[in-house]
Amino acid sequence: MIFLIWLLYIPALYLVYGLRLALAGMGIYLHTFPTMLLHGAVFVGVYYLIKYLKKLLKVKPRIPANAGKRDKTISVYGLVTVGFTAMTALQGYGMLSRSMQGYLVPICAYVVLALSLNLVVGISGELSLGHAGFMGVGAFAGIVAATCAQNAVSDPFLRLVIGMVAGGLMAGVAGLIVGIPVLRLRGDYLAIVTLAFGEILRSLTENLYVGLDRAGLHMSMSNGGVQLQEGGKMIISGALGATGIKPISTFVAGILLVFFTVAVVLNLVHSREGRAIKAVRDNRIAAESVGINATTFKLKAFVISAVLAGMAGALFGLNLGSVQASKFSYTTSIDILVYVVLGGMGNMLGSIISTVVLYLIPEFLRSLADYRMIMYAIVLIVVMLCTWSPKIKNTISLFTYTMRTYWNRLFRKKGGSGK
């Protein structure tokens, strides 16, 4: 069945893309490797979307056990697919403004960061305030790796992948080093220690000098420490960070990373380990008493989250011409945490939506000039109150209920309340 759809899918895609190409006069990337991958991903998304829609259409009594979760999983893939298709189509028809196109890659990076943090905060139930530290490690490792591969690998997408893998690995190592001591702590103590580690990572990268010449990679913690031969080039120079990077991140790569993250996170959540992690979150003692090794499972989630954050960092870093360590301070960690909490703990779909919305609000508020950030603050507070406060939530649902009743009365004429 799947294979059948796959067979149908490819010509269908060519039809759609071909039409688009004809219309927009763009003859690009149909035969490249990332597009093939992407088509695979889009295919999976469409497949699940169809299944989801079918489920929606069939009015069946809900089976409580796993049905809701399944729906949500599908809708996450579906949402990403729809978002990607919409954006690519708009881009193809030249209907996206420059700034909108500019937001695409950072949004992908932040979505991945939010999803991976949600794994720690929502699923594992540990408040982490140092996520940006892993992002920074990933960004700089990714930049160094991609720069080193510049001569050997000519394809930018492949170089980006190398960068992301390197970033993920380095961040994973950092995550392991941080995770082992940290996960012995609980609650707000854990929060402060992750914050501390994040700041340590930032402080170290702020004083890192990395240069590349024919002899290889040179690394030092002081400016004079890196002596380069003729033709050598500084990749990272302390507080100025990495400058003169060639931006190689693309929206396609970003979306692929999002898909990858969603797959990893959801699979973990729904696996045996995921259930164990949630059991530990909900009641540590009870979980331990049935033989679940809490720390191991939590460490696993923490390291995976760090790896994903590192990959997102590489994507983020390789999207800009210059990156500074100051970006990866606790302020950014808190921004990511805001995305997660607003979207709902453990709710992946929510994380994606709230990241996109919250990333765009300050950008859309640009016309307010000096009042921009204060507006953002007010929006943030109001949104939090509206989504979390029981009283306000009740008022809103009362409001929507009333509106619906009126709507029914006016237009349907056959609602329960109308006559």
Binding site: Y189, A286, M373, I374, L385
Partner: protein
């Protein structure tokens, strides 16, 4: 002699951290929330003091009570508008609102007073006492600051242990539901805690800005984080713990800066914090609670 000099410097900044940490720890102990906006209340306190001093020419110490009153009101308003509606829901939700409030206060201050650094008058304008032929300097302001910190701690401890309201606070900190059943007005108690915390923040704001002799919209954010660290260091929720944590943090920060590296002093302070927490997971004076099934 160098060591002694830095020791005194460390105590001075430590006393200020301690006062901020007291506010943090009280709010945490009773409302069970991390009030990230606490650092910005400090900033508001400092700006208030500056505004009154520059408008009327009064000495700085007279402006402290005014700043305290304004910050108290501010604290109650923030609590009522932004935190109270979320009571009983996830503590993370309140954390995010607190961050929102923090952004709001910083940006509001920038709109009102401008983004630039403004000079701040000193609390005690006197030359330092010189000991050992000028090798050791003790500023009178440092002594005043330390004294204020000690007085505040003693007063707070007495208040919490001896008065009716203080007892109510402890009861709410221990078990909110049980306290409510005993007839304690939980909402009022939490509001009072915020009021006290904010008043302390105002004092800390004046002391801090008087030390560095300048004030800007972001003056409170880093000391806020430091004080949070200090509160955790000493065992969050514990009043003597906050005091001890603040002092130790000030000392560690100054001494590592002077003798190891000012560039990495941040990293080293945090590293020490991590080590301490690994040895004593609930902080220095925190209660290690036994979980029950």
């Amino acid at each position: 002699m160098d060591f002694l000099q830095y020791f005194i410097d460390g105590l001075y900044i430590g006393a200020i951290y301690a006062i901020i940490a007291l506010g943090y720890t009280m709010v945490y102990g009773i409302a069970k929330m991390l009030n990230f906006a606490h650092g910005d209340v400090i900033m508001v306190g400092a700006y208030m003091s500056y505004t009154f001093v520059s408008a009327s020419g009064m000495p700085v110490y007279l402006s402290i009570p005014i700043a305290m009153v304004i910050c108290t009101v501010l604290g109650i308003v923030i609590e009522g508008l932004a935190y109270k509606p979320l009571r009983g829901t996830s503590s993370l939700a309140v954390l995010i609102t607190a961050i929102g409030v923090s952004y709001f206060l910083q940006n509001a201050a920038q709109l009102i007073w401008g983004p630039a650094e403004i000079g701040f008058n000193r609390l005690v304008n006197a030359k330092p006492f010189l000991l050992f032929g000028g090798k050791l300097r003790i500023s009178p302001e440092a002594m005043v600051t330390l004294a204020i910190a000690v007085v505040i701690m003693v007063a707070l401890t007495t208040f919490v242990n001896r008065t009716q309201t203080g007892k109510a606070m402890r009861a709410v900190a221990e078990d909110r539901d049980a306290a409510q059943l005993m007839g304690i007005n939980v909402n009022r108690t939490i509001s009072i805690t915020f009021a006290i915390g904010s008043a302390l923040a105002a004092v800390a704001g004046v002391l801090l800005c008087s030390k560095v002799q300048s004030v800007s919209p972001t003056v409170g954010s880093m000391p806020g984080i430091r004080a949070f660290t200090a509160a955790v260091f000493g065992g969050i929720g514990s009043i003597p713990g906050a005091m001890l944590g603040g002092m130790l943090l000030g000392l560690v920060e100054t001494l590592t800066g002077a003798f190891i590296s000012t560039q990495f002093s941040d990293a080293i302070v945090f590293l020490i914090l991590i080590v301490v927490l690994l040895v004593k997971p609930a902080g220095l004076l925190g209660k290690q609670t036994q979980e029950k099934v």
